[in-house]
Structure formats: C-alpha cells, structure tokens
C-alpha cells in the first residue's frame, strides 16, 4: 500500500453513560490520494467516527494516526493537515461567503494575501462570485452547501473529511460539488467521504467501507466487493451487508 494518510487501529468508543460501544474495534487504513467512502445506515456510527477523526470527540481506546501522527495527543497543529465539511452548515449565516472565508482562512493559519487569493479562486469554482458579499442566510440550501465545502478546503488540506456534503441539494449543486471533489483529489487531496447517497459514492470513491452497528462489515474497492458478493450495484451490496430493517 502507498503511504498512509490515515491509520485507525482497534478504535472503540462509547458515549458517556452508554453501556454498549458505539464503535467497536475499528481498523482502517486509507492511503494518501485515495477517495474513500464510508457508508452505512442511520445510527451506524459514521458521524461519530468522523467526529473522532476530526478531534471533536475524544477517545480512549485504540489509535488514530494522521500522516503518521497520533491524534490522541491533541496536537492542534495537526488540524492544519485536514479539512472538514460537516453535515450541518458550519459558518456564520449573518456573514457573506467572502467574510466567512476571511475568518476561517485566518483560523486555518493562512495569511491575508493567501486568503484573498484562495477566496477568489474558490468563489469562482463554486459559482458564488456574484453573491460573494451577500449574507449566507439569504442563500439557497445548495449555495450554502457549496460555501460549507469551500470553507473546508480553503487551507488546501492534505486530507478532507466530508460528512454528507450533498444532503438536501439539487442536481446542479451536487454535480458541481462532486466534480470539484474529483478535481481536488486529482491535485493530491485524500478524500474520506461519508454519505447515504450510494450513487454518489459509486461515482466518487475508489474504495469503500461499510459500517453497521459500530463495526466495519466490508472494506474493499467497489469492483472487488461487487464481484466477491455477486452484486450488480452498490445498493444491493449495501442491503446485503446492512439488512432491510429500519435503523432510525
């Protein structure tokens, strides 16, 4: 395997007061430059895993290494290495996209000049140059998703965690987002993508892991998984691994 971007070993996690583990003995290796999909039904543990990987939730059992650095040590400088696009809109609604980028860019460690250059570039890519000075609160859901993505990548992270980045957006915005993510990956950024959108995962990911009830139940390239389990599409494969019962 190529050089590892992310290495997870024996990670277990439970929320305070919870008897059963939310995540049990997770082991994953993601190589640099990979487009990795993390799929699973509701409540499977995807968002919890994302939160742990981005340092939002502390963990005790197991080890997570980001480009060889143990994240348990809570070294804030490691946060420069990754970008995060959370499921919820993570910016100031009362500010414009430009103002949000100026602020989050500074917090990501960029200089004033770098922020200016990168903001203009990203606003152009996400098609929001014309409305760069309008408060984000006035934007549609799709526009907000694009702003959410742009802020997450403003500092050109080496690895990008995406938690349901296209939820609730129209086809145009989704296409734009997926297309940009591919470009980003082509330029060397590792993608860790979590979603319910199986068709998106098929389009985007080289390799997928399926997670259910806190455990990794499948982890391979999509073509290998399909041929190994004799399925024609990801949806059939998904139901095979996770069953048909409701998980809400």
């Amino acid at each position: 395997m190529d050089k590892l971007a992310l290495q997870i070993e024996h990670l277990s996690f439970s929320y305070p007061g919870q008897v059963t583990n939310c995540l049990s003995d997770i082991n994953l290796n993601i190589a640099e430059g990979e487009k990795f999909g993390l799929l699973g039904p509701n409540g499977a543990g995807k968002t919890t895993l994302m939160s742990i990987l981005t340092g939002l939730l502390p963990f005790q059992n197991g080890s997570i290494k980001l480009f060889g650095n143990e994240i348990k040590n809570k070294n804030k400088s490691l946060n420069k290495l990754f970008g995060f696009v959370p499921q919820d809109f993570s910016f100031y609604q009362e500010l414009s996209p430009k103002e949000n980028m100026e602020f989050f860019g500074a917090w990501a460690g960029l200089t004033r000049v770098e922020i200016k250059k990168r903001s203009e570039e990203l606003l152009e890519i996400i098609g929001l140059t014309d409305v760069r000075n309008k408060p984000v609160a006035q934007f549609s859901g799709g526009m907000k998703r694009r702003v959410n993505l742009a802020i997450g990548v403003i500092h050109r992270p080496r690895i990008l965690f995406l938690d349901e980045p296209t939820v609730g957006v129209d086809v145009q915005s989704r296409t734009a987002i997926i297309s940009y993510l591919k470009e980003l990956n082509a330029s060397g950024t590792t993608l860790v993508y979590s979603s319910h959108q199986l068709n998106e995962a098929e389009l985007l990911c080289d390799r997928i892991a399926m997670i259910d009830e806190g455990k990794i139940v499948a982890n391979d390239t999509l073509s290998n998984l399909l041929s190994l389990h004799n399925e024609k599409g990801l949806e059939g494969l998904f139901l095979k691994f996770t069953g048909k019962t409701f998980r809400d």
């Binding site: 981005t54 340092g55 939002l56 502390p58 804030k76 400088s77 490691l78 946060n79 420069k80 990754f82 995060f84 959370p86 919820d88 809109f89 993570s90 910016f91 100031y92 009362e94 500010l95 103002e99 100026e102 602020f103 989050f104 860019g105 500074a106 917090w107 990501a108 460690g109 200089t111 004033r112 408060p135 802020i151 997450g152």
Partner: protein, 424 residues
C-alpha cells in the same frame, strides 16, 4: 496576530448585524437614563422647590390664620390654593381628589383666639417668673391644625411639609408671645424692626458638599444617574454577548472552529476586546448625552470629572468585568433562552444589590455582605468617587481593585468550565 485581527473583525461584523443586540446595548440604556433622570430631577424639584400644591381651608376669622398662611408661603410652600372656610373635612378631601392635590390643611375656627390666649398666658407666667407682679392667666391649647395627605406621598416629603408647617406655626405663636410680653412691660406695641430682629433674623444653614478635589458643585440627579445607568448598560451586554457565545457554541460554526488549528481562547479574547470597545462606546455615548443633550431637554448637565485618565481606567475595568460576566454566562448556559433569562435577571439583582436601583446607604445591614459581592456596587462606588467626590486615581483604586478581583474570579470560572467541557 492576524488571527486575532480577523476574529475581531468577524465579531464586529456579527455584532453590527445584530440589530436587537445593538438596540438593547445602546438605545435602551439611553432611554432608561433619560427617563430615570427626568423622573428623579422632577422629584428633586418637587421636594426642593416645593412645587406641590397645598389646599388651605382657613376657618379662622382672625388675623393669625392669615399670618400662618403667609408663614407657610415663606417657608417655601408657595403653591397655595385657598378654598371656602365653610367646607367640611370630607369636602376638603374631595377637593384634594378633584385637584389631584397631595396635601391640604384646615385651620380651625379658634386658631387666632387660642394663640392669643396662649400668648397672654405664657407671657404672664414668664413675667411672674421674672418677678414682675401680675395675675397669671390660664390658657388651653386650641384645636389642632389638620393636615390631609395623599398616601402616595413619601414619608420623607411628608416630614418636610410637617417641618414647614411647624416652623410657620411656631413663628406665629412666638410673635404673639413676644408682643404680649413687650406690651406688658412697656404698654406699647413692639417696634417692627425689633420684632424682625428677634423673630426672623436667624442664623442660616450653609450647605456645602464635601468633595475630595475641593469642588463645591452640588450633586444632582444627572451626576447620580448617568454613572449608575451606564454601569447597568455595560452589564446588560450579557443579553447580546451571553447569547452570542451560546449561539456560537450551539451552531455549526463552532464545530468548524474546534477542528481548526487555533485555540478557542482566541475567540474569547476577541469577544472581550470587541465588547470592551462596545462598553467604552456606551460610556462615550451616554456621557456625551449627559453633557450635551440633557441641558437641551431641561435636565441638569453632566459634569465630567477633571481626572479623565481615572475615568477611562474605571470605565475600562467596569467594561472588562461586564464582558467577563457575559462570557461566563454564555459558557455555562445550555441555550440562548437560559443565557438571556438568567443573564438579564441576574444583572437586575446585582444592580439592586449594588446600589444602582436603591442607594447603598439605604440597604439593610444584612445586605451589606451581599452588596460587596456585586461587581456593580464597586463599579458604582468607583464612578461616584470621580463624579461626586472628585477623587483621584489613588482614591478610585480601592474600589477598582475589588472589580479586578471579581473579574479574575469570573475568568477563572469560565476557563475551568471550558476545560471541563473540552473546548480549550
């Protein structure tokens, strides 16, 4: 440094778009300070210039009733309305309601005759005691002067009215006794000049406010109210800042902040700088209104202390304390409702304990300990030291020191909580 600057700009932008917060922080205190000062100034005027109307029902047919009324007028109760002497007590009280008058007096029918009888009796007793022979005449005290008052009248003001009436009454009685003694000794009427010398040329009371800088300016409602309500306004930033901290904490933006390579303390530092600037701006705006606008609307102008450096330091420390308190509330609160509700109510309680709503000297002893725990008390004392007592920085420091200590305690509590919930 650029991170801090960018955060400060972000906070300013967010604040400038929070119209409700800005209204609460600037417009409301301005309205409050104008309304409270106007009310207090008119109360001071009412009490000090005795503008309350006095209804007089003089049933006395003699001259002394008229002299008594004249004495009341001279004692300062200049707004006198005479009503018919035929009125009963009930009718007088009805007129009070009709005219919305707060006080009325009824001078009894035998007022003059009884005072004259007393004057003759007292002078005969006095002359007998002095060895001048003569028959001692007996006298009885006449019917009382009846004072009606509206129960809304404050006790202190009623006492001041009572004092004026007693003073006028005493003057009438003393004059008659003096006349009677003089007539008994000389069998002529006392010369008017002598009567004036004895009765009216009294030693005056010279009132001098004692201030540390030797200034003899008389404190007014503005000097009391503007510093007090400015402090209240500063602490009221809790409604904007406290809920702003909670809002950020609960919003998606906070998730992103935690994943970026910058400590959240920077955000709190920026908020402190932003809101301390807001507090200082509140001070400038409210004090400017006191100096420039108050005289235009008929209120006494605010006299700024001569030591402007101390004024700046006091304002800075008060602002820092107010902002620290607001952040602490925001960090501990679980929702914006909690921050707004607890924040606002706690400020009103601390203001009451601190002497903003009720003068601290009027507090019961049992509250003195609690009063000293209120940062608003120490802030107010610091401002009063400058505005009313003309103190210098050394005088102010003894009050500012507790403000700084309370602020540090609040900051430590905030840091402990942030550490506990793993935000820093």
């Amino acid at each position: 440094m650029y991170k801090l600057w960018a955060t400060f700009i972000k906070d300013l932008r967010v604040l400038s778009r929070d119209r409700v917060g800005l209204t609460l922080m600037f417009v409301m205190p301005i309205i409050l300070v104008i309304v409270i000062t106007s009310l207090q100034a008119s109360t001071f005027e009412l009490v000090n210039e005795n503008k309350i109307q006095l209804i007089v029902c003089n049933k006395d047919a003699g001259e002394l009733g008229k002299q008594f009324i004249h004495g009341i007028f001279n004692a300062g109760l200049s707004n006198i309305a005479d009503v018919s002497k035929e009125l009963t007590q009930d009718q007088v009280s009805n007129i009070m309601h009709e005219k919305d008058a707060l006080i009325a007096i009824i001078i009894p029918v035998d007022f003059s005759s009884k005072i004259l009888e007393k004057a003759t009796g007292v002078s005969s007793k006095a002359l007998t005691n002095m060895g001048v022979e003569g028959a001692v005449s007996e006298y009885t005290i006449g019917e009382s002067v009846t004072l009606f008052y509206n129960p809304v009248l404050q006790k202190s003001y009623l006492q001041s009215i009572n004092g004026a009436l007693l003073s006028a009454l005493q003057l009438v009685e003393s004059k008659q006794i003096l006349n009677s003694i003089y007539f008994s000794l000389n069998e002529t009427k006392i010369p008017e000049a002598l009567e004036q010398d004895i009765l009216t040329n009294r030693i005056k009371i010279n009132e001098i406010p004692v201030s540390k800088n030797g200034s003899k300016s008389i404190p007014n409602a503005t000097q009391h109210n503007i510093p007090a309500w400015t402090i209240f306004a500063m602490f009221f930033v809790v409604t904007s800042l406290g809920s702003n901290v909670v809002k950020e904490k609960l919003s998606g933006s906070f998730v992103r902040l935690k994943t970026l390579p910058t400590n959240y303390l920077l955000s709190l530092l920026s908020k402190q700088i932003t809101y301390i600037a807001v507090c200082l701006l509140q001070v400038v705006v409210i004090f400017s209104i006191g100096v420039g606008v108050f005289p235009l609307i008929g209120l006494p102008a605010l006299n700024l202390p001569s030591d402007l450096f101390s004024l700046f330091i006091v304002s800075l420390c008060c602002g820092w304390c107010a902002v620290s308190y607001a952040i602490c509330i925001g960090v501990f609160a679980q929702s914006q409702e909690q921050a707004n509700g607890f924040g606002a109510v706690s400020i009103v309680i601390l203001a009451a304990l601190g002497g903003i709503l009720v003068p601290s000297f009027a507090m019961p002893n049992s509250f003195h300990m609690l009063m000293q725990l209120s940062p608003l008390h120490w802030c107010l004392e610091s401002y009063y030291e400058l505005f009313l007592e003309g103190g210098a920085f050394s005088d102010v420091f003894k009050n500012i020191f507790p403000v700084i200590c309370i602020t540090l305690v609040i900051q430590i509590l905030t840091l402990i909580k942030l550490k506990k919930i793993q935000i820093i």
